[in-house]
């Protein structure tokens, strides 16, 4: 984060938050819940990926699965779910348990992949994600297989049901804002700075005595927590969870959101999520319903070909073109860095 950007980041973020908080007064309920609200809850999951990619250089495709871990944990525990697996645990206890489960799953993914980099990491996290999906789909006893666990309605907040448009929207918005602030705070702490230094020059930072594997695993734990919060909201939004929620398609959707928005700043995840949600909702009206997926693929391909660092990168380039400034920070940092990370573990003392 250059000083120039940092000066604007806080006021800009607060202004955006204010706009998002007031917007429901002006737009129909459908847009509040099913465009903005939906974009925010999936955006939280996407932000966990953007966090790892931006500050750690790790492109993890396991984030939707980790989000699902929290969602499934809550669904297994809470009363009213169909079928009831354990049941009877109040939301006040089930939600922290879900967050804990996701954090643990995040740590586990970090641990398994701790010695791999770049493209290897992508493959390993993808296979872990799809592996859990297949497991959940085949297992009836705990996850009710293909049908999943339905009727997870969410807690009552201030006496109002969670499915109330505004309760859902403002809970999602507040959660997203808190997690966003957490990420921006975290990257300024010694932990965050060490993480970024490890990303840029693992060998030198390790030589300085930083424990690289520990920082990596911790970063995956943080990302797991964020994804878990998103996953629980996704589960409430969908009134339940089934294997499709964490399948290959859902995993790719999260990646598409992050990439469209840009892997350069956490806000990219939300920009990408809004674009994706609009597209997903209205593409059928623009194009043949039957061949909707071809359109998704073509647009995704076009964005990756035209601007690998997404909308944020496009905006940055546009700004640079309009007001050329001498200070040079090449765009597409995270993307190109992650992309250029070579074969596994260049022996960084791990």
């Amino acid at each position: 984060m250059t000083p120039g950007t940092a000066r604007w980041a806080l006021p800009a973020s607060l202004a955006l938050l204010a706009v998002l908080a007031l917007l429901p007064l002006a737009i129909p309920a459908f847009w509040t819940a099913n465009i903005l609200g939906r974009a925010i809850v999936y955006g939280i999951v996407a932000m966990s990926l953007t966090f790892l990619a931006t500050y750690g250089g790790f492109v993890s495709l396991a984030q939707m699965m980790i989000a699902g871990t929290a969602g499934y944990a809550v669904a297994i525990l809470v009363p009213g779910a169909v079928p009831s697996i354990l049941g009877g645990v109040p939301y006040a206890l089930a939600i922290p348990t879900g967050l804990l489960a996701a954090t643990a799953m995040g740590l586990l993914v970090g641990l398994i992949s701790v010695r791999t980099q770049g493209i290897y990491l992508l493959m390993i996290t993808l296979s872990l994600g799809v592996g859990v999906h297949l497991f959940v789909q085949a297992n009836i006893a705990w996850f009710n297989g293909y049908e999943g666990i339905r009727n997870v309605v969410g807690p009552e907040i201030l006496g109002l049901p969670f499915r109330d448009t505004f309760v859902f929207y403002y809970t999602a918005l507040a959660t997203a804002a808190l997690l966003y602030a957490l990420v921006l705070y975290l990257v300024r702490t010694p932990f965050g700075l060490a993480l970024q230094a490890l990303r840029d020059n693992p060998r030198r930072v390790s030589a300085l005595g930083y424990d690289a594997p520990l920082h990596r695993i911790a970063a995956f734990g943080v990302a797991g927590f964020i994804a878990g919060a998103g996953g629980i909201l996704v589960t409430f939004y969908n009134i339940g969870i089934s294997p499709g929620t964490i399948g290959l398609g859902a995993t790719v959707n999260i990646l598409v959101m992050s990439v469209i928005g840009g892997l350069g700043h956490p806000v990219g995840a939300f920009i990408g999520a809004v674009i994706f949600t609009l597209f997903d909702t209205f593409a059928a009206d623009l194009y043949d319903r039957d061949r909707f997926n071809t359109l998704v693929g073509v647009v995704f391909l076009a964005i990756v070909l035209a601007s690998p660092d997404g909308v944020l990168g496009m905006a940055r380039r546009l700004r640079d073109a309009l007001a050329p400034r001498p200070q040079g920070r090449a765009d597409g940092i995270a993307t190109s860095r992650a992309a250029s990370a070579g074969p596994p573990a260049s022996g960084n003392g791990a």
Partner: protein, 424 residues
């Protein structure tokens, strides 16, 4: 008559959407000459796409026959598609109801989607969901929703009469049942076992997870004492199992689940076909059924769709969607297109409907808004060089609990691999 299926107008932004929704909210009971908006929701992506396409074909055919009108009002259709995932179906249903302002939805296609929409329908007032083709029992049996109606029979019902036929008519003492390890086969196994075991039969159950590709260890475990093999797999799994069973030289008489004998299995050429000739199965439809209503329906379907990718005979999903829309149109006629008053009159009309579906079977709803209708026994025969299912038996007015009192049926618990319904 050219179909006038309306592609939804393009919304240019929040403003237009706001205007649209505001009008909808301000005047829920619009003037009687405004069109009725129906949302069609089926699966057009992924492995179930053929079923969804056929559902749309059959519904479109029916609308064309009615000149896109019911109860004196024009009908507008908004099409949406899911990929057989509950989340996606839910997102599409929300869009149909909350954004496109449809009056009711006809859909969805698969089990988990049906349960998700059932839960969603409970949160709605003044809107109705009429099930398209999803067949999980629990959608209507346990925890039903007042806004959710199902005019097709479910997986348990489809097996009515089959267990008795195998035990009593074929005089088979013991069967091996190979089935998928998920909800739909559970229901079918349950329906079969209830009759078969009560009639004194014994069964060995061999389960395999969804998407199993290698059935050789299952085939090796079929007991030598079994007098028949009951196969309850669908689609890809069914084709894989049958090919491998043929390859292994299997020769037991075959009994099939309701989606074993569908057109995709029968039109697939190969060694399994020799075995499948003569297979007996149960279900709500067949290819060949000597009934004027059915013959006229098939004739019309072929005329309309033979050049546009239709099957030789309507599929089970096509039939189910057709039945759902039949019910919707009949109820609209009865209330003269009046959907005001939170659709109370319309929903009452749906509850009281009694009509003949395309098979010529009487359909009515029970107190959970679940269909009671006739189920057929079918045999696969060679007709004009091609394999086809032919009806040879019929059980009238099968209800969701197969005639068992509901309390007693519910006490048996939901079908699962440990709860096969095999109680003597």
């Amino acid at each position: 008559m050219e179909p006038r299926i309306d592609r939804r107008r393009l919304l240019l932004g929040a403003g237009a959407a706001a205007a649209a929704t505001a009008t909808g909210l301000a005047a829920p009971a619009i003037a009687q000459n405004a069109p009725i908006r129906i949302g069609w929701l089926a699966t057009l992506e992924g492995p179930f796409a053929t079923g969804g396409q056929d559902g749309f074909r059959c519904m479109q055919m029916l609308l064309e026959q009615h000149n896109n009108q019911a109860g004196g009002r024009r009908i507008e259709v908004v099409r949406e598609s899911s990929n057989a995932q509950a989340d996606v179906a839910l997102a599409r249903a929300r869009k149909l109801i909350e954004q496109d302002n449809v009056d009711f939805i006809l859909g969805p296609l698969s089990g988990a989607e049906g349960i998700a929409l059932r839960d969603y329908s409970r949160t709605l007032t003044g809107k109705t969901i009429i099930n398209g083709s999803s067949g999980a029992s629990d959608t209507t049996l346990r925890n039903p929703s007042p806004n959710f109606f199902r005019f097709n029979t479910d997986g348990v019902q489809w097996m009515a009469g089959l267990g008795n036929y195998v035990r009593r008519t074929l005089n088979v003492q013991e069967v091996a049942i190979v089935a998928g390890d998920y909800a739909f086969p559970y229901a079918q196994v349950f329906g079969f076992s209830m009759e078969f075991c009560r009639a004194g039969g014994r069964a060995t159950y061999l389960w395999s997870p969804l998407g199993t590709t290698d059935y050789s260890s299952i085939i090796a475990r079929i007991p030598r004492t079994a007098g028949a093999l009951v196969v309850i797999h669908g689609g890809t799994d069914g084709l894989a199992f049958m090919t491998q069973y043929a390859q292994a030289g299997g020769s037991l008489p075959l009994i099939g689940g309701s989606i074993m004998a569908d057109q995709s299995m029968l039109s697939a050429r190969g060694p399994h076909r020799r075995l499948m000739l003569g297979m007996v199965s149960g279900g709500p439809i067949a290819d060949v059924h000597d009934d004027p209503t059915w013959n006229e329906f098939v004739e019309r379907y072929r005329r309309r769709w033979s050049n546009e990718g239709g099957f030789r005979s309507p599929s089970i999903h096509g039939f189910n969607f057709y039945t759902a829309q039949q019910a919707a149109l009949l109820a609209l006629e009865q209330v003269r297109g009046d959907l005001s008053g939170n659709q109370q009159a319309f929903q009452q009309a749906l509850v009281r409907l009694e009509f003949k579906n395309a098979m010529g079977a009487q359909v009515k709803l029970d107190h959970n808004r679940q269909a009671i209708s006739d189920i057929f026994l079918n045999r696969i025969e060679e007709r004009g060089g091609q394999a086809a299912t032919v009806t040879f038996g019929r059980t009238n007015a099968v209800n969701q609990t197969l005639g068992v009192p509901e309390a007693q049926f519910l006490q048996l618990g939901a079908p699962s691999r440990d709860n096969t319904g095999c109680v003597a």
